[in-house]
């Protein structure tokens, strides 16, 4: 029974975690808007012909960025690209008036970011290009809260890599939660201009991705092709970058999540199987322990089928009970995850039905052998059993 509980709870937890992750990512990507093309470093996907993605290259996620400022400029010259926004990841640490935070995304970008991502500024304003006299930064809602302890710290200063910045604006709190393939968590982000990022790093900043807003949302494919040709030119014909349209981003994100989820679910399924064998063990012990009871029941007129169904029902009760407790445990774990982490697991009805169904199946299958053993016993042998 414990085996079934552990098996079911881990399967439900993991699958709901995966499902929640997927939904979060999908939500974040949809936030981007459908007219956005994302350029990422490395050849992340293999394409089947020209359109559909048939493979994801996980290694490409780990390589150094191949995107440069030159690429940004090249795309900026395209007539089909309305706006080009580079995003480069500078550091993760910033010091405020009260404390130092180490889990931030300090991102170098251009002022168009807010417009491209439909991200509104709650207080103050986004920095503009060419403000030379002061170094401005736009911060997320969580950063404002934790670094300064107030909702609107506009005008206060913070320090990134030893350089002082003035907060020019605070972004509206966004609903997203996690750093995903495509997107940063705006609540935990500090945006500075690309020029300042270059100054901070003392070299070319590591451009994580370039967002391109298409001139014509209905002609995304044309824009994507233009961007690809332009980049091929700057990359000497070697395609070590990826041009992704909105929906393809979804595919990649959910593809990665699916792989991980399937892997862990497999492990959890094995524990479910082990739980089933545990049930068989318990049932076999129970059958031999209760041999005398079986004998008595047969002596007073139980047919083999009635004995069989009695033991099947007992096995079933064990596994259904275990399955339901497992789902309950998973719900508790999910509640804990929701309270203490950024994960937002989603338990769907089909998942619960599937998990309980599988445990019922396991229970029946592994109860058959002990139940048959009990049913086939001769009444006189069973009665004589000590």
């Amino acid at each position: 029974m414990l085996g079934i509980v552990i098996g079911v709870s881990s399967v439900v937890t993991i699958v709901s975690l995966g499902e929640g992750l997927k939904q979060q990512i999908v939500g974040q990507i949809n936030q981007l808007g459908s007219d956005i093309i994302t350029v990422r470093s490395g050849k992340l996907v293999s394409r089947n012909g020209s359109s559909s993605i048939n493979n994801i290259n996980v290694l490409a996620f780990l390589s150094t960025s191949t995107l440069t400022e030159k690429d940004v400029q090249a795309i900026g010259k395209l007539p089909s690209a309305a706006k080009v926004v580079p995003m480069s990841f500078v550091t993760s640490t910033a010091k405020g008036s009260r404390t130092t935070l180490d889990n931030l995304y300090v991102v170098g970008t251009s002022p168009d970011l807010a417009d491209v991502l439909h991200q509104k500024v709650a207080y103050g304003a986004f920095f503009t290009e060419g403000e030379a006299d002061q170094d401005f930064a736009v911060i997320g809602a969580r950063v404002a809260e934790e670094l300064f302890g107030e909702l609107n710290p506009a005008g206060q200063s913070l320090s990134i890599m030893g350089k002082s910045f003035v907060v020019s604006g605070v972004l509206e709190r966004s609903s997203g939660g996690l750093l995903s393939v495509a997107e940063t968590d705006f609540n935990s982000a500090i945006f500075i201009s690309q020029a300042l990022a270059r100054k901070l790093t003392g070299a070319h900043p590591n451009i994580l991705q370039i967002l391109v807003k298409s001139q014509d949302p209905n002609n995304l494919d044309v824009t994507a092709n233009d961007v690809r040709s332009a980049l091929l030119a700057t990359h000497q014909g070697q395609e070590n970058f990826t041009v992704l349209k909105q929906y393809e981003l979804l595919d990649i994100a959910s593809g990665v999540v699916n792989i991980v989820t399937a892997f862990i679910t497999g492990i959890a399924a094995i524990s479910l199987l082990v739980g089933g064998i545990g049930i068989m063990d318990i049932m076999l012990v129970s059958v031999s322990e209760r041999m005398r009871e079986i004998g008595i029941r047969k002596a007073v007129g139980a047919t083999s089928r009635q004995i069989l169904s009695q033991f099947l029902v007992e096995g079933l009760a064990l596994s259904v009970g275990g399955g339901l407790i497992g789902v309950l445990v998973a719900m508790l774990i999910n509640l804990g995850l929701r309270l203490y982490t950024n994960f937002d697991p989603v338990v769907t009805a089909p998942l619960v039905i599937l998990a309980v169904g599988v445990s019922v199946g396991v229970g029946i299958i592994f109860s058959v052998a002990p139940a048959l053993k009990a049913a086939r016993k001769d009444p006189i042998d069973a009665l004589r059993h000590e």
Binding site: E293, G295, I296, K298, A299, V300, G301, T303, S304, P379
Partner: protein
């Protein structure tokens, strides 16, 4: 009306060198309404006979007619239904299910009949009233004294209105007071027209019986009609007498036993350990030994 008829019924345990004859061509016919006491020393085949009559066990050879029907032709399921509807068992060890209370134990055969819980509990309650156990309905078996447990077991045996009650040493674990209560109960049931088969070691108990048979070494060696209230005449004498094996039987030896026994059938029977009780009296056991051809 003949209720039970056994024709040359034998029961063998084990095979090959270790074949043991538990029942040796027993001939018996029991009329409806008889109170039959079965006496004999340990290992004489009394329990084996009862198990065969009670459809718990199958004879190796011979014909068993219950109500004129060939029992050997019945399938396992039909035998189970026969046990449920026609036969009530009372065991020496009570054999109540420890996890069910008295009422549920008594109602158990009705559950296998498919009766609704309310109806079967009502009926079980009535039966417990009959055996004077009404106030112990919700006790668990371990909370009962031996006599109470045996009365509950009798109520369970009676619940399907069986035509045959088989009681295998029902007073074996009881003191004299409880024995008397239980035997009076059987006597009462007998007066209502039930057929009762009672295995006992106690000659006193033959006072309740209308007929006594004596067993020895798997054979029925005596049959005596007695008036209810009188102790059977042969009860003491035959019980302690040792049966003489004739010279013919010794000379006949193995082949006498095995002549009618097809080897195939013996080999196909699963190994059965000899009854424990039989092992305590190895001198009395007749072990058939086959000469091995080299």
């Amino acid at each position: 009306m003949t209720l039970i008829e056994l024709q040359e019924v034998s029961k063998l345990y084990g095979f090959g060198d270790a074949t043991t004859l538990a029942l040796d061509e027993a001939m018996l016919s029991v009329e409806k309404g008889e109170f039959l006491a079965v006496m004999g020393p340990s290992g004489s085949g009394k329990s084996t006979l009862m198990n065969i009559i009670g459809l718990l066990d199958r004879p190796t050879h011979g014909i068993y007619l219950l109500d004129g029907r060939h029992v050997a032709r019945l399938r396992t399921n039909q035998r189970a239904k026969m046990r449920r509807d026609r036969i009530g068992f009372v065991f020496q060890a009570y054999n109540l299910l420890p996890r069910l209370n008295v009422l549920e134990n008594v109602a158990l055969p009705l559950a296998y009949k498919g009766m609704t819980p309310v109806r079967r509990q009502k009926r079980a309650s009535d039966l417990l009233e009959l055996v004077g156990m009404r106030d112990r309905e919700y006790f668990m078996p371990r909370q009962l004294s031996g006599g109470q447990a045996q009365r509950a077991a009798i109520a369970r045996a009676l619940i399907n209105k069986p035509s045959i009650i088989i009681a295998d040493e029902p007073t074996g674990n009881l003191d004299s007071t409880d024995s008397k209560v239980v035997m009076e109960l059987f006597s009462d049931i007998h007066r209502r027209g039930n057929t009762i088969l009672l295995v006992t070691h106690n000659p006193e108990l033959t006072r309740y019986a209308s007929r006594v048979i004596y067993m020895y070494d798997g054979m029925i060696v005596g049959d005596e009609k007695t008036a209810i209230g009188d102790m059977a005449k042969g009860a003491r004498r035959i019980y302690y007498q040792k049966r003489k094996v004739t010279d013919d039987e010794i000379a006949g030896g193995v082949s006498a036993y095995l002549r009618d026994v097809p080897g195939k059938e013996l080999a196909s029977r699963s190994k059965r350990p000899g009854k424990r009780r039989r092992k305590k009296t190895p001198t009395r056991r007749r072990t058939v030994r086959r000469k091995v051809k080299i």
